[in-house]
């Protein structure tokens, strides 16, 4: 008898399927816009005006790094909680409610962005409907209020999704008071906790500053304050995208390799470290911001370097699990076991290649994290290359590979074509190699990011190897291959979904462990303790920088009186504390 997820949890399967299709739609639109951007910027093929490039860039960023990733995340996490607790959510009406809320939020923000393409956008609430503010939507760029409202509704929807997972876990705990939290649920809960902590910053930024400003209620904002509050959220969101991929690498990849997870306790330690360290380091995105003292930046850099630890632990644990699987399949030798891995399986191969690209992303990330080296690459295409390796490959390729597992589980239909799926994940790897290599290299000679016209008049960039033309062609070629890969992925998803039911869908299970939860100290499951420490770390990392920024520039800008921090705190105290940090 078939025992797919659809058979176990038919109601939840419908919501998860809806969330995945929402993410696929965002991926399709955002991906095509990526091709438009690449062809325009490299001057290979231009059919939009350069001012529209920024509308394309905003849509590409928001649709892919917010909508695609988070819709996929909520689907994956709902699957993980229900599968590992072996019970459904408490009330599927609540689950549908947060999903619909996220759809409304995404639609509102999306419509506002796409209105930027209209020759004369409609005027609503006293301003033109557009939002050419890029994914990093801090001031001084200003969007229409609907954009901010859409984002808030979307984020609140994701908060309620977290409430749903916690409710389900608490219900399970009442039935199983002495049981350890199953690993997939543990991963979901710790990730949700740091999501609550980090989104508090961006929500305050929107609700207190950006939205009133765009509505004309307040006269101005302090741009450095909104930037800092954005990056308070902006780096943790990277880990929010990444954690579902980690969840799949820990709980599914060992199974697809033919073995077991090497260590459940190590996996728990990794997720606790992400809960603790994801948020108090956002200032490392602001090394070039002149209004923040170097001492605060140094603290952010130190925290960032600590975050390498869970990533390295993950590399060790996941590779050890894959080796265990390969040896179960007859693999031998120091490296000969690699041949015994299931390379014909698109799910395994996609996730393995994504993990490998993430290692490369880690190396370029270390360059970004170092204060002195960051100055060289900060505003260049290097950074774009870096995050196309992280969110664009480690996350997106893992999600696509995981979809080859999820969609049959959720529909009861076999994957349409496994060979096409294998070709698709390999093409993504090749396309991203071409594109990100060129982006990183061009960053080294200073080619700027976030511009439709990177080639200045009367100035020639000097690459260490090859020419700027070669770099551009490499980016364009990579983008074309990626688009082809994306089309194959979507084709496979559509054809699978309209296929006929199959009885040969594998059982809905996740990887067993070599060393299980019983080998880990119970304190690892103490979520209150880790959350409290995470909050303390955030307070330590952000109190003085924020106080300093507000003291220097006011809450709403330097010329707006009445809101300056000095009305509450003696400036001498702030100054002396700042001296200590400097």
């Amino acid at each position: 008898m078939r025992n797919a997820y659809l058979d176990q949890f038919p109601d939840e399967a419908r919501v998860i399927k809806a969330a995945f299709w929402s993410s696929f739609i965002a991926l399709a639109i955002g991906g095509v816009l990526g091709l438009v951007q690449a062809l325009h910027r490299t001057d290979v093929f231009r059919f939009i005006q350069s001012p529209d490039y920024y509308t394309v860039l905003t849509a590409h960023g928001v649709l892919l790094v917010i909508v695609f990733t988070i819709f996929f995340l909520v689907g994956t996490f709902t699957w993980a909680v229900t599968t590992s607790l072996d019970r459904g959510v408490v009330d599927t009406r609540f689950t549908w409610a947060w999903y619909i809320m996220m759809v409304i939020g995404a639609a509102l923000a999306g419509i506002t962005i796409f209105s930027g393409f209209l020759e004369s956008a409609p005027s609503i609430l006293g301003s033109e409907l557009n939002a050419d503010v890029l994914f990093t939507f801090y001031a001084p760029l200003e969007a229409h209020p609907f954009f901010y409202i859409g984002l808030v509704v979307f984020v609140v929807g994701s908060w309620l999704a977290g409430v749903d997972w916690f409710r389900t876990w608490l219900a399970w705990r009442r039935e199983n008071p002495d049981e350890r939290i199953p690993l997939p649920t543990f991963m979901v809960l710790t990730t949700t906790l740091f999501w609550y902590i980090c989104t508090l910053g961006v929500s305050l930024s929107i609700l207190v500053f950006l939205l009133p400003w765009s509505l004309g209620i307040t006269e101005s904002v302090n741009p450095l304050l909104t930037r800092t509050m954005f990056w308070y959220f902006g780096h943790a969101v990277v880990y929010f995208w990444l954690m579902p991929a980690y969840l799949m690498w820990y709980t599914m990849l060992p199974k697809f390799s033919g073995g077991k997870l090497f260590s459940d306790p190590l996996a728990r330690v990794v997720f606790v470290l992400f809960l603790l360290l994801s948020t108090p380091l956002g200032i490392h995105h602001q090394y070039l911001d002149p209004g923040i003292a170097e001492g605060y930046k140094f603290i952010a850099m130190t925290n960032t370097m600590f975050l390498l630890l869970p990533s390295l632990l993950t590399a060790f644990t996941v590779v050890a699990s894959m080796e265990h699987g390969a040896r179960q399949r007859g693999g031998e030798g120091y490296l000969g076991w690699l041949k015994a891995l299931p390379w014909r399986d698109p799910i395994f191969t996609g996730m393995a290649l994504a993990g490998l690209m993430f290692a490369a992303a880690g190396f370029s990330g270390m360059i970004n994290a170092g204060m002195n080296i960051n100055y060289l690459v900060h505003n260049t295409w290097w950074v774009v290359g870096h995050f196309h390796l992280t969110v664009g490959t480690a996350v997106a390729l893992t999600f696509m590979a995981a979809s080859y597992w999820f969609i049959p589980q959720l529909t009861g239909k076999e994957l349409w074509n496994r060979s096409v799926a294998l070709g698709q994940v390999v093409l993504w790897f090749i396309g991203m190699t071409f594109m990100t290599n060129a982006m990183h290299r061009s960053g080294l000679f200073g080619l700027p990011r976030r511009t439709a016209e990177p080639q200045y008049q009367g100035f020639d960039f000097e690459p260490a190897v090859g020419t700027v033309g070669e770099i551009n062609m490499q980016v364009a070629l990579g983008a074309v291959i990626l688009t082809l890969s994306l089309a194959l992925f979507l084709l496979n998803m559509v054809m699978t979904s309209i296929g006929s039911n199959s009885e040969s869908i594998p059982d809905n299970t996740y990887a067993d462990t070599l060393s299980g939860a019983e080998d880990s100290p119970r304190i690892l499951d103490n979520l209150k303790l880790w959350t409290a420490i995470a909050v303390v770390l955030v307070i330590i990392a952000y109190t003085l920088p924020l106080a300093s920024i507000i003291d220097a520039g006011g809450l709403f800008g330097p010329d707006i009186e009445g809101f300056r921090l000095s009305t509450w705190v003696d400036p001498a105290v702030i100054e002396s504390l700042s001296e200590v940090i400097r």
Partner: protein, 69 residues
């Protein structure tokens, strides 16, 4: 075959970053490959890899661990 078709496909894919980065690395030693030369190098490596993969491991057509992958 020495390795499965799936593994062979992945190894061929791995040649892309290898050739692209190898070209950059060679330039540090003053050896500058043009795009055509890089493509030729890639082609030679792919052919060499294919020959290695399909060449019988023991002269009797043994396939080693490839069958299960």
């Amino acid at each position: 075959m020495r390795i499965s078709k799936g593994a062979l496909l992945v190894v061929v894919a791995f040649l892309v970053p290898f050739v692209v980065e190898f070209r950059t690395a060679l330039s540090w030693f003053g050896i500058k490959l043009s795009i055509l030369e890089s493509l030729a190098l890639g082609g030679v490596l792919v052919i060499g890899l294919l020959l290695w993969a399909v060449w019988p491991e023991d002269g009797n057509g043994g396939t080693g661990a490839a069958g299960s992958s």
